[in-house]
């Protein structure tokens, strides 16, 4: 087996252990040399060529890279929705074998159910899991209110804008208090202004109840704004290029987005992409 390329750390926060005696929090998600190969009649495509990563409990980690770098594939593998060709993923010490259910998922498409109201769309998470409706109904209402959809509980998806639908989708992903939130380019289909607003909203909701988050994005500024760490990935084949630690205090606001520290991070990552030929200017 050829040695996997070591990801270089821009700033080290301390050793992340991966041995058997490690505390659960540090190795909440343990991804070991995950490979994914898609085979078709035309040949095989290596979407992921051996990715290793550890995610701490309560951490906000972004998977950042251009299209084709396998970041969505990696997310689906972590969620147990796509099987890996090789390698292993452990969540809280247990290797995953099938679809993870202690998760909330948000896709680029809100995937709401047209025949249900916003509130019922959020509550389907509860119904599906056969949890007590009475216990979670107030929480669902609270979540919707916290994203500004308080008066829209009875509205159906066709009566909502794209941004509003995505907010409902996020509430649905959090209502059952999962230990992991997986987001696949959740704001990709929204206009730039709505996207900026959603970044603020997501940070606010997350700070109220910091669940472990894995966010797939291709927006550098979004990743810097939201994350504790950014896993910068390179395409063809999908590999981890760098892991960047974002050392900015929270809550991060508009002013911080203008600060030299912030711009520094964005610049460094952009530069990295340019070096790798992802951006050619």
């Amino acid at each position: 087996m050829s040695p996997k390329p070591e990801p270089d750390h821009v700033s080290a926060r301390g050793p992340t252990s991966s041995g058997p005696g490690c505390p659960d929090a540090a190795n909440f998600i343990d991804i070991r040399n995950v490979r994914k190969v898609y085979s078709s009649r035309g040949g095989s495509v290596e979407a992921l060529a051996g990715v290793s990563l550890q995610v701490r409990r309560g951490e906000f980690v972004s998977l950042l890279g251009p299209s084709g770098c396998g970041k969505s594939t990696l997310l689906m593998i972590i969620g147990g929705l796509i099987p890996a060709t090789a390698g292993e993923v452990r969540v809280a010490g247990t290797p995953i074998r099938d679809a993870q259910t202690d998760v909330g998922i948000v896709f680029q498409d809100p995937v709401l159910l047209d025949w249900r109201s916003s509130l019922d769309n959020v509550m389907i998470q509860i119904e599906a899991r056969r949890l007590d409706r009475n216990v979670y109904l107030p929480r669902a209402r609270e979540l919707l209110a916290s994203v500004g959809l308080g008066g829209f509980e009875d509205k159906h998806p066709f009566e909502l804008s794209g941004g509003m639908r995505q907010r409902v989708s996020i509430c649905r992903a959090l209502v059952h208090r999962p230990r992991l939130l997986l987001m696949d380019e959740p704001f990709g289909a929204l206009d730039a202004l709505t996207r900026d607003q959603m970044n603020f909203d997501l940070q606010r909701i997350w700070l109220q109840d910091p669940v472990t988050v894995l966010l797939v994005t291709h927006s550098i500024s979004e990743a810097v704004f939201l994350s504790d760490r950014i896993v910068v990935m390179s395409p063809r084949p999908g590999l981890v290029d760098t892991i960047v630690e974002i050392d900015l205090p929270r809550p991060r606001g508009l002013d911080m987005q203008e600060s030299p520290a912030f711009s520094g991070y964005v610049h460094d990552i952009k530069h990295r992409f340019a070096l790798r030929g992802v951006i050619r200017g």
Partner: protein
């Protein structure tokens, strides 16, 4: 649910068109361009309808029963078949080609066979109707069930939903618009199917009446029967649309156009 007020133009337009057609028809017969045995005047047809009203009504009811029974069978069995096809690859591969092949058989050729097997009466007639109407129900339902995008499937799995509950809570609703499209086609086919079955194996119903009128070259009666048949078909179709409105008010096709 937002619904636009019933647009008067949806009644005025067809009413106007029909009136126009009726005028042309009247002119054609008045000027003698068409002989009375080939094309009776609208007035003659109307007189026939009024004269023969009891007979027309009784026969229409008889045909309606055949249509409804045949249609109901096609809905229940058609959807059941579609669910089976959707849930088992093996079943799909075994049944689908047979189903499609069976549609190629002209139903009029099957009708006498049904009479031989089942005799006269409601059974062979509703079976015929069922056979004609079931195909669009199956196809549209299969299509509807299959039209679930991968993200929705991922979502269902991540929520811990198994096959059955995913179907009951998500796929079935998703399929409804498609199913209704199939039902609308099926009801019109059911009307045709019922009439065809009456041509061969019946002593009552609008189909039988049509045959008698043709045999006696009683063109006004023929037209009268056809008129009643048309009205029946339109009413049944409208009924399905009404049910659709109530069942899937949330679908894009039901909102103000």
């Amino acid at each position: 649910m937002d619904k636009s007020p019933r647009d008067p133009s949806s009644i005025i337009y067809p009413a106007f068109t029909i009136a126009l057609l009726l005028m042309c028809w009247e002119v054609l017969t008045r000027t003698g361009a068409a002989p009375p045995y080939a094309l009776p005047s609208p007035r003659d047809v109307l007189m026939e309808v009024i004269d023969r009203w009891p007979a027309l009504l009784t026969n229409a009811l008889s045909t309606t029963v055949v249509i409804v029974v045949g249609f109901a069978l096609s809905v229940v069995l058609g959807i059941a078949l579609a669910v089976l096809i959707s849930s088992s690859r093996a079943f799909e591969k075994s049944i689908y080609p047979l189903l499609v092949g069976s549609q190629a058989i002209p139903k009029l050729a099957l009708a006498p066979l049904f009479v031989v097997w089942f005799g006269f009466g409601l059974l062979p007639k509703s079976l015929m109707t069922f056979f004609i109407a079931v195909f669009p129900v199956v196809i549209s339902t299969v299509q509807g069930i299959a039209s679930v995008e991968p993200e929705l499937e991922f979502l269902a799995r991540s929520m811990g939903l198994g096959q059955y509950r995913t179907f009951r809570m998500i796929r079935l609703y998703r399929a409804l618009p498609s199913i209704f499209a199939g039902l609308k086609v099926a009801i019109t086919l059911a009307v045709v199917g019922a009439v065809v079955s009456e041509f061969v194996g019946s002593d009552e119903g609008l189909g039988t009446l049509l045959l008698r009128a043709i045999g006696a070259v009683n063109t006004p009666l023929l037209f009268a029967a056809l008129l009643v048949l048309t009205v029946l078909a339109v009413l049944l179709f409208a009924l399905i649309e009404l049910v659709e409105r109530v069942a899937i008010p949330w679908h894009v096709s039901q909102r103000s156009r």
